[in-house]
Symmetry: C2
Subunit: 338 residues, 2 copies
């Protein structure tokens, strides 16, 4: 059966053109992208659900979602909540996608906070980084739940057997870190997880763990540092190479090798991150997504549906919930953060 | 006049051999390294101050400093406080160097917390990252002071005119971040600084600001992610290149270009970071420092003395102190964190 994926055609720095082009690219016998956009949108034959407005990147998430119920972002997310689509992809305002998801897709029972799971293409295979930016503030028990969600994702979608978990901190020793990581370390050590202790940012690309957990602020800083560094180095290398004839010849010869590396490391290859912990599948793509990234994000959404990621989380997370509760979680609704 | 630099010969993963070799390399007509180590240490003719013990990397900083007053680390740091050396270099336990410095070198008047300033070799020149790891927890007013210290460093040592300052966060908009960065953003905007707003990790190597401020946890995660990514990519590129004859030939041709890039980006080139905010000059080198890194850290220490960095901070910081105080700093001694 074909998977219907709702696409927020007006979300992202390069919307709508690159978003539509990406959706068109991803369309196949098994993937049916449905565009949410203005009536005048050129859809190249894809189904269009007409919306009257768009949420901009700088708008305050909760306010924008409340004020613009007929925006492409809110409507596309709501399609998943209403059962009109199996998954949604948006390259728009991340906070607004989170807010709309909490409102219209809703959290799985027992989930304290949804977290963004990103796949980092490490040297030894995929590493799941969670939370990559949904929660700028988090409590220790949230990190334990992120770990459980990351493990389900790694096992059921990435086919990693018995995934190892590490906590992103500033030293490998348990006593290195801030208040949050010290407390989270203690909870993770007691949890039913293959917890291997702390890891540092330098371990991310080395694949020192299958799942790396952190709060969304730290995860987002680490992810953007990683992506920016990859980009800067490849550009710097290119410009060094081009500055001499010898270098230019060498550059031509190593091009296939450099392409392989770039293909592995380019964030566009992954396309986006899953917002885990919800009753439906939500994929958040980079704001700067090109058609390639949107195409990959759309395929990623369909893959999550195919692997029954949401159902697997629902089946496997109650244990996590019990653990988080018993380790002192205060009851509080997940609230949207900047 | 020659500058005496105390070297903690027993600190660091590769001590004492690489540390001594680095000190020997840095010795010159103007730099006189003085080694602090065990009586049996082979010093290649450098002056030796005999110590009875060493502080290991995993020891609890405050406890170790208290329990081992005759350790090479404590004695070398104390040499600066006592006026026996103009600066100190240690590749040992960072927390212990911080604890020993607070005890024996002491803070400049008005300084709330010392911060580690690291120079990142960005595309547009040096970028100062502060705090790169001294304070795992920080308050907004600490970040304002880090910014002032970073500016003095950038102007007086790196010769940057009117340095710009940015706050490391998870989005360029002022409302993006966690509680700490939101409050720090407001204080920085009011301070007497050329504050250009938030920056993301991706801007570090691009040189989007002359000074980037953050708490020590975030700064350390970002720094290690940056360094680890540089290393991983250069290694991955090398192994891709070596996997084919064509690549190997190309690799030989681009070697000079790659060397230039590596020389710029290698953390060993910088050698270490200054611990700013103290009454004396303290340089913290990487735990993994080789002789090259130790040599560069020693020259860096001498350069700080030559540029009168401590005196310049003492002259220029009182304004910062007034600002920090008026913006609600509670009085509290700087305490050592893990």
């Amino acid at each position: 059966m074909a998977t219907r994926v709702a696409i927020d055609a007006l979300g992202g720095d390069r919307a709508p053109d690159e978003v539509v082009a990406g959706a068109v690219e991803a369309a196949s016998g098994t993937i049916v992208p449905v565009l949410y956009g203005t009536p005048s949108l050129e859809t190249s034959g894809l189904e269009l659900v007409e919306c009257t407005e768009a949420i901009a990147m700088h708008e305050k998430p909760a306010d924008a979602v409340r004020a613009k119920p007929d925006s492409s972002l809110v409507r596309a997310v709501r399609a998943v909540g209403d059962g009109d689509a199996a998954a949604v992809v948006s390259a728009g305002n991340t906070g607004a996608v989170l807010a709309a998801s909490l409102l219209h897709v809703r959290r799985l029972p027992g989930v304290l906070r949804p977290g963004i799971a990103i796949v980092i293409p490490s040297r030894r295979g995929p590493t799941v980084l969670i939370d990559a930016g949904a929660n700028a503030e988090a409590r220790p028990e949230h990190l334990v739940q992120f770990a459980h969600m990351g493990v389900v994702f790694a096992e059921d979608v990435l086919d990693v057997r018995d995934p190892s978990v590490r906590l992103l901190s500033i030293g490998e020793e348990p006593e290195k870190g801030n208040q949050l990581t010290l407390e989270a370390h203690a909870l993770l050590a007691e949890a039913d997880l293959r917890f291997d202790g702390n890891t540092e940012g330098r371990g991310l690309l080395e694949g020192e763990a299958d799942v790396v957990v952190c709060d969304g602020f730290t995860g987002n800083v680490a992810l953007k540092t990683l992506e920016g560094t990859i980009r800067s180095i490849l550009e710097a290398l290119r410009s060094e190479i081009r500055s001499s004839v010898r270098g230019r010849v060498g550059g031509l010869l190593i091009r296939p090798a450099a392409r392989g590396l770039r293909a592995r490391l380019d964030p566009e290859t992954t396309g986006g991150g899953y917002l885990l912990g919800l009753k439906g599948l939500v994929v958040i793509a980079h704001g700067s997504s090109s058609r390639v990234a949107v195409g990959n994000a759309t395929r990623m959404a369909a893959r999550g549906v195919e692997h029954r990621l949401v159902e697997r989380l629902a089946e496997r997370l109650p244990a996590a919930r019990g653990e988080a509760r018993s380790s002192g979680a205060r009851s509080s609704g997940a609230t949207v953060e900047r």
